[in-house]
Every structure is written in structure tokens, then in C-alpha cells.
């Protein structure tokens, strides 16, 4: 994932405030968090001199496409569907004590991770501990994955 400074250097750096933010740096931070889209920076698209910067930015953010609101990305090519993340996820355990908590398949729809057609899929990501005001850097789904299929961007 790019740093705010890397993104800032690819923005117009004019602090024009057209995006609604007070500075281009503030816009870069929100862009990385996924809170705003690149299209909010209108000069990038309207002015020819920013053409190269725009294509570099688009390339940069191509990797995070498909990420959920929490930045969770599942590489379905790598995932083996072992379900370690499903059982280890603390939210799954709390929301489904008689299903995923004891190693079985989910018994309700309140779980974040479940295995479908042999690979893990995410739902209800707003319940993830990395989301919301009191978010923490929980990484239990990452450390329990044997194939490195789960990432947060």
C-alpha cells in the first residue's frame, strides 16, 4: 500500500480545495483509507499536465480494487478454503458460538468470513474489528492463513 507522501507527490499539490479537503495531503490520506475516490480531484482529470500523474495514481490504486471497506482483500487463487480464518475470527466466534466457534460451518448470517465453493468470502465487514471508531489492528485471519491469501490494504 502506498504511503500518504507517495500519493501526495502524484496529486496536483496546489491545495485548490476543489475536492472539499483543505490540503492535497489531507486528500491523499483519505484516498488511502478509501474514504474518497480519485475522481473527487477534478484538476487531475481536467488538466492535461496531470495526465502522467493520473495514470500512475490509477495504477497504484488498481491493487486495492475489490477490497472491502476495512481493506480486506482475499486472493481466491491462493485460498484453499481450510476455514482457519473463519474459526479464528473473534467476531465470527462471538456472533456464531454454536457454529464457527466450535469448528463447524456458520449457523447464521452474522459472520464476517465463510467458505463458499471452496474459497473464503467476506460479508458483514462493518462488524470487523478493524472497522469503525474503536478499530484495532486485529490480524487473526492473516496469521492463521497458511497460504497468505488474506491481506489488509
Amino acid at each position: 500500500m502506498p504511503t500518504p507522501m507517495e500519493v501526495y507527490q502524484l496529486l496536483p499539490m496546489t491545495n485548490c480545495k476543489k475536492c472539499g479537503e483543505s490540503t492535497c495531503m489531507a486528500f491523499a490520506v483519505k484516498l488511502i483509507r478509501g474514504e474518497v475516490g480519485l475522481e473527487a480531484c477534478t484538476p487531475l482529470f481536467e488538466e492535461d499536465r496531470y495526465k502522467d500523474k493520473l495514470s500512475k495514481l490509477q495504477e497504484l490504486f488498481e491493487t486495492v480494487e475489490g477490497a472491502t471497506e476495512t481493506g480486506l482483500v482475499i486472493d481466491t487463487d491462493k485460498c484453499t478454503g481450510c476455514g482457519n480464518c473463519v474459526v479464528a475470527c473473534p467476531v465470527n466466534v462471538a456472533n456464531d458460538p454454536h457454529g464457527t466457534a466450535v469448528g463447524r460451518g456458520p449457523t447464521n448470517d452474522r459472520v464476517i468470513l465463510r467458505v463458499k465453493d471452496g474459497v473464503v468470502v467476506a460479508s458483514n465487514v462493518h462488524e470487523c474489528r478493524r472497522f469503525g471508531k474503536n478499530r484495532i489492528l486485529c490480524d487473526l485471519c492473516i496469521v492463521t492463513c497458511p497460504s497468505g491469501a488474506i491481506e489488509f490494504v
Binding site: 485460498c79 484453499t80 478454503g81 481450510c82 476455514g83 482457519n84 473463519v86 474459526v87 479464528a88 473473534p90 466466534v93 466457534a101 466450535v102 469448528g103 463447524r104 460451518g105 456458520p106 465463510r114 467458505v115 463458499k116 465453493d117 471452496g118 474459497v119 496469521v143 492463521t144 492463513c145 497458511p146 497460504s147
Partner: protein, 387 residues
């Protein structure tokens, strides 16, 4: 209109019984909870059309004309089919063998006859403090093993979760996917497993440890009330098939707590075959591989196995010299070279039956979809009748 059924997966010896299958217009559309290995069995039907009656007649003809036939495989078929196969071997007076002795030596016989203490996977989930994966890569062979039983789930007496309640260690010759998720990894040089066992029991009895990792592992053994060794074929090869050493090690561990062993068998019903042979009071006589190498057999009935992929080329090429009948749901390298292929349905998907999990617990495999593919049991029964 779609319907949802709960099925048991015949993908590996975990026999996961919580698979949710969505069926629409007599086709499986979605499979929930199964790993990639299991889901592929449900989602990819492969049933080429052929003349079943003619194939069975030809199989009977080949077996009747053979001077010294043999039956091989049987780890990936139902208990019912295994029983019939044993009867066929009695009728023909021929050799019958699966992979259990090739991969695990006498281990399964020792476990089945209780010479080595064993427990069920449900006991492991509810009570195990320490899971030792020795020479076994569960994450690749039995993908849901750790998440369903041995490491991650909460159990009756294990309510705090895997971070606090359990300790898992992988002992192997390389850092396998299982080693990546286990708490510790202990690397052992090939063939040095007996020396490692000596060292572990030595540390437990007060000798100075050779490394920090070994000291930590020994301390965990001392702390544990209930421990399980999941023995893979790597352990058996590492011990050079010396079962006395393994029994001695298990007895040593049991002085410090309750320690059990579960063989991590490969085929979904290998444990079932060993049990069926015991119940039929039969023992594996001779060796299929030795007979194949020495030219001691002229025809082989191979059920639910792929020796062309599993055996070294020096052995598998000998299959080309004999007549082979392969009964298998899928096209495999062995079906490619076979003289006769009989495609059957997959137990638990197209056909019913029962199978035994790696810990000896029997499960019923209920078909989740109606297809007119014959089962292994039906084909073998007709062959037996024809003989």
C-alpha cells in the same frame, strides 16, 4: 427452485459432515463450508457415458482368465464396497492390499488393535492441550483438520480459544503450510526422528536440552494434561518403520499426561479398510508392490486409487505389462493406461454408503443428488456374482 441439503464430504479422512449443498434443477450450484479439495468433488461432475454391462462382463472375463490377479487401492471407496472386494479376493484366492501398509507400515494395525492409545477427533477438540503434527502436513492433505478439531476451535473444556488454550507444533523435515500456522516448528533431519524422540524424553527426565525450542516443547508437554500426536507418513519413514520405538516414545510421554496418537491417513476411508480386514479376520499377505516388481501378478483390479501418480516410475511402469481394471469416478493417469475403466459415482455426492474417519468414527455418506451412475459397491457386487 433451489433446495439445500447437508452432506458429508468424501474429500479426505476428516469426513466433514457440515457441507451445505445448494441444488437447482438437479445440478449442484453452490457448496458451502467445504475446502477447495472437497468442493471440487461436488462442483465438477464428470460422468462419461459407457456400456456398464459390457464393462462388467469384460472385468469378469479378465479376472477369470488371470492366473494370479490382485486387488489394490480401496482407500477411497465405501465400507460396503471394501467388504465386497474382500469377498472377491477370498473367491479368487488373491492378494488384496491398500496403501495403509505402504505408507504407514504397521501403524494402523497397532492403532486398531489398541496397542497404541488413540482417541477421537471430538475428544481432541474438547480436551487437547497440545497437538503435535509429526511428519504430517495437515493443511495440504486434510485442509479443515486444524480448523475443525486440532487447533482453532473452542471445545467443551477449551473455551478461551486457540491463542490461550492450545499449543500446536509441527515436527517435519521442511517448513510446511501446517508449520506456518502452528505455534512452533521443529525441524528434524531426515531419518533423525528416533534421535529426536530420545532427546525429548531425555529432557523430560531432567537432561540438559540441546536447544531452546526443545526446552520450550518439553515444558509444554509437562504442562499438558491431554496431548495428541498426529502421525503422518513422514514420521513412519523417519522411524524407518520401527514401531517399537514409537510405542516406547508414547509410553514415555504417557508418564507426564494422557497422550494419544491419531494416524493422518490419506484416503477418506483407509481406516475403514483396515477395520474391515480385521473384522474379516484377514491380514495383508505379501506385497502388491513387490509382486508388481517381480512380475508375480498378471491382472490387477484397482479401486479408487491412482498408483500411476502415487508410485515411483520404476514400479508404476510395470502396470503397463499387466491387465488392469480401474474402478474410479474420475479420469486419472491410471485410467489412461488401464485396459478397462469403469466410471462410478462419488460416494456422498452421487451414491450412498458409509466410511470411517481417521479416528475410527463411522459416518454415513448420503447422496445429495440423484444420478444414475453405479456405485463402487454395485459394480463390485456384480463382478462377485459373475465370478
Amino acid at each position: 427452485m433451489s433446495t439445500q441439503v447437508t452432506a458429508t464430504c468424501p474429500g479426505c479422512s476428516c469426513l466433514c459432515d457440515d457441507i451445505e449443498v445448494v441444488i437447482e434443477e438437479s445440478e449442484i450450484r453452490e457448496v458451502g463450508n467445504a475446502c477447495r479439495k472437497g468442493a471440487s468433488l461436488f462442483l465438477n461432475p464428470d460422468h462419461p457415458a459407457y456400456d456398464l454391462d459390457a464393462a462388467i462382463d469384460e472385468a469378469i472375463e479378465i479376472l477369470k482368465n488371470a492366473k494370479s490377479p490382485a486387488i489394490f487401492g480401496l482407500d477411497n471407496t465405501t465400507i460396503e464396497a471394501q467388504r465386497i472386494a474382500i469377498k472377491i479376493s477370498e473367491k479368487l484366492g488373491c492378494m488384496i492390499e491398500d496403501y495403509s501398509s505402504i505408507r504407514y507400515g504397521d501403524l494402523l494395525n497397532f492403532v486398531v488393535s489398541s496397542r497404541i492409545k488413540t482417541c477421537t477427533l471430538d475428544d481432541v477438540r474438547d480436551r487437547a492441550d497440545i497437538s503435535i503434527f509429526w511428519g504430517s502436513d495437515a493443511m495440504s492433505s486434510q485442509p479443515r483438520h486444524l480448523s475443525r478439531f486440532s487447533y482453532f476451535p473452542r471445545g467443551e473444556h477449551k473455551q478461551k480459544g486457540w491463542e490461550f488454550d492450545r499449543y500446536a507444533i509441527s515436527i517435519d523435515i521442511y517448513r510446511s503450510p501446517t508449520a506456518k500456522v502452528c505455534r512452533e516448528f521443529l525441524k528434524v533431519s531426515p531419518g533423525q526422528d528416533p534421535a529426536l524422540m530420545d532427546e525429548i524424553l531425555g529432557i523430560l527426565s531432567g537432561k540438559p536440552p540441546g536447544s531452546k525450542e526443545l526446552l520450550k516443547f518439553s515444558n509444554e508437554i509437562k504442562k499438558a494434561d491431554f496431548g495428541v500426536i498426529f502421525a503422518g507418513s513422514g514420521l513412519i519413514h523417519g522411524l524407518n518403520r520401527d514401531m517399537d520405538k514409537l510405542i516406547w516414545f508414547m509410553e514415555g510421554l504417557n508418564e507426564y499426561g494422557e497422550f494419544y496418537l491419531i494416524p493422518m491417513v490419506k484416503g477418506y476411508n483407509m481406516r475403514g479398510f483396515v477395520e474391515m480386514m480385521k473384522r474379516a479376520q484377514r491380514q495383508i499377505e505379501g506385497s502388491f508392490l513387490r509382486a508388481l516388481l517381480d512380475g508375480g501378478i498378471d491382472a490387477a483390479l484397482i479401486v479408487g486409487a491412482d498408483p500411476m501418480s502415487d508410485l515411483p516410475y520404476s514400479l508404476s511402469k510395470k502396470l503397463l505389462d499387466i491387465q488392469t481394471i480401474v474402478i474410479d469416478p474420475r479420469d486419472t493417469p491410471t485410467t489412461e493406461i488401464a485396459d478397462l475403466v469403469i466410471h462410478t459415482g462419488i460416494a456422498g455426492v452421487d451414491n450412498g454408503g458409509s466410511a470411517m474417519r481417521m479416528d475410527g468414527v463411522e459416518f454415513e455418506l448420503v447422496p445429495c443428488i440423484k444420478r444414475d451412475t453405479p456405485s463402487d459397491e454395485a459394480v463390485l457386487t456384480r463382478i462377485l456374482e459373475g465370478l
